[in-house]
Amino acid sequence: MANDAIVKYIFNPDIPGTMTRQIYMDHSSTTPVDAAVTEAMLPYFSDRFGNPSSLYSIGREARRAMEDARAKVADLICAKKEEIIFTGSGTESDNLAIKGLAYRNRKKGDHIITSSIEHHAVLYTCKYLETQGFKVTYLPVSKEGLVNPDDVETGITSKTVLITIMHANHEIGTIQPVEEIGKIAKEKNIPFHTDAIQTAGKLPLNVDALGVSLLSMSAHKMYGPKGVGALYIRKGIGLEPLFHGGGHERDIRSGTENVPGIVGFGKAAQLAKERLPEAAKITKLRDSLIKGVLEIKDSYLNGHPEKRLPDNANFRFSYIEGESMILNLDMKGVAASTGSACSSKSLEPSHVLLATGLKHEEAHGSLRFTIGRGNTRDDVDYIISVLPEIVNKLRMISPLAG
């Protein structure tokens, strides 16, 4: 098992000569590159350094490796190899899907439907398009974070050129009724994009069953390298390119391909598909964590109790602030994240939590754990043992705790 290689103890910087337990539970932020993935990538940095566009053998070798990776990524979502474009990130995939489709169909219409809890890569792309004359409907969500498919249907106008609704939310883990939305999109003949960055490699995906025309993925969320993403583009869907140049990736994404990254993505996708059954083990850990943490007074689960990612446990604690919890957990060797304003560059609390109806001060008190294949029951027990003390300590300091 490659991920047993995750460092579990590090030197404690505060007390020289001692070790601190390290638990990484922020896998929705990023994952460690699997050792088998690194191994697959390494030759393509040096010995097999060729440019896939070159005609001689070393170029053809790189192209073969890239096409092999394309087939593996396609296989993960039950798509055809020709329908996969490699990009530089999940963010780029989202931008390419949304801007590319909107610009290509400008003569047909100027209206886009999305949700209010999309990742910034989708949300800010839509906001940008508003400055370019497009109109965007941001659908509300329930307090569990669910989009209502009926809202999608009633939101459609004769000018609607794109529906973009994420598969699962990166913060609260809620899984959207994408199949139902896909059916509506198909009936109305409107292209449907889904940001599947949090689900690709975690849930079984089939682009036909989902009814999507475009689907974004990212390698580093599935034990692959950073700096490589992919976009599924259903046959017949035209996109305006964002980058112009040498005509790489079927003239949709110019730029010499990141061959080592793409090879790594292929390997990661293959492993992820093989390991899909591991979701059962991760779900069990998640449920133990949720049960244990909710024992803490005035703590709540954010997101949907059942329709949620197998790895996601997102809580909120009354009277205290998220960054303080993250720093205290870090001192105990635990890596987690929060939707608090203090942790963001914008100083705004998470738009996702606000959209689910939380007040600002409630959104500031959120804490997200996302479990990975390297985590154990022991890790969960450790978090359950250290967290109450941290929450109590911060509540002692808080003027809101009364």
């Binding site: 602030e321 303080s324 720093l327 001192m331 560059k345 609390p349 001060e361 808080s398």
Partner: protein
């Protein structure tokens, strides 16, 4: 350890000084706003024009807690005039700096201390009626 936080900030954050309320405080300064993610209450006890005791309660991030802790140490034993001269920058400097993004939002401790001293001075004025007192307190809480 944490990107942008100095060792001194982390030290005060991990072991905050003078946490709590002063039940019979002579002045209370309430600054910040839970909407922004930072709320700071500073309590003072005054004797012979000096800050005999300073305590705090804070809802907020690492910087908010560390600056609160730091100002209680800086202010204790000072005369009111000296304490009023402590600036936000003095607090940030004593903590060996704060990340730029935290300078305006979480560096409220000096404001909190000044608000507490003003509250004390207002309470001492017998002619001021309670409505005005409430107004001063409100002004303090909305300042950030």
């Amino acid at each position: 350890m944490t990107d942008g936080y100095s060792e001194k900030v982390m030290e005060h954050f991990a072991n905050p000084r003078n946490v709590g309320e002063i039940k019979d405080a002579d002045g209370i300064g309430k600054v910040g706003n839970p909407v922004c993610g930072d709320l700071m209450w500073i309590y003072i006890k005054v004797k012979d024009n000096r800050l005999e005791d300073v305590k705090f309660k804070t809802f907020g991030c690492g910087a908010a807690i560390a600056t609160s802790s730091m100002i209680t140490e800086m202010a204790k034993g000072k005369t009111l005039e000296e304490a009023l001269k402590i600036t936000r920058n003095d607090v940030a400097e004593a903590l060996e700096g704060l990340p730029p993004v935290k300078m305006h939002c979480s560096n409220l401790a000096a404001d909190g201390l000044h608000a507490a001293i003003k509250d004390y001075l207002e309470r001492k004025k017998p002619q001021i009626n309670t409505d005005e007192r409430r107004f001063v307190a409100m002004e303090n809480t909305t300042k950030h």
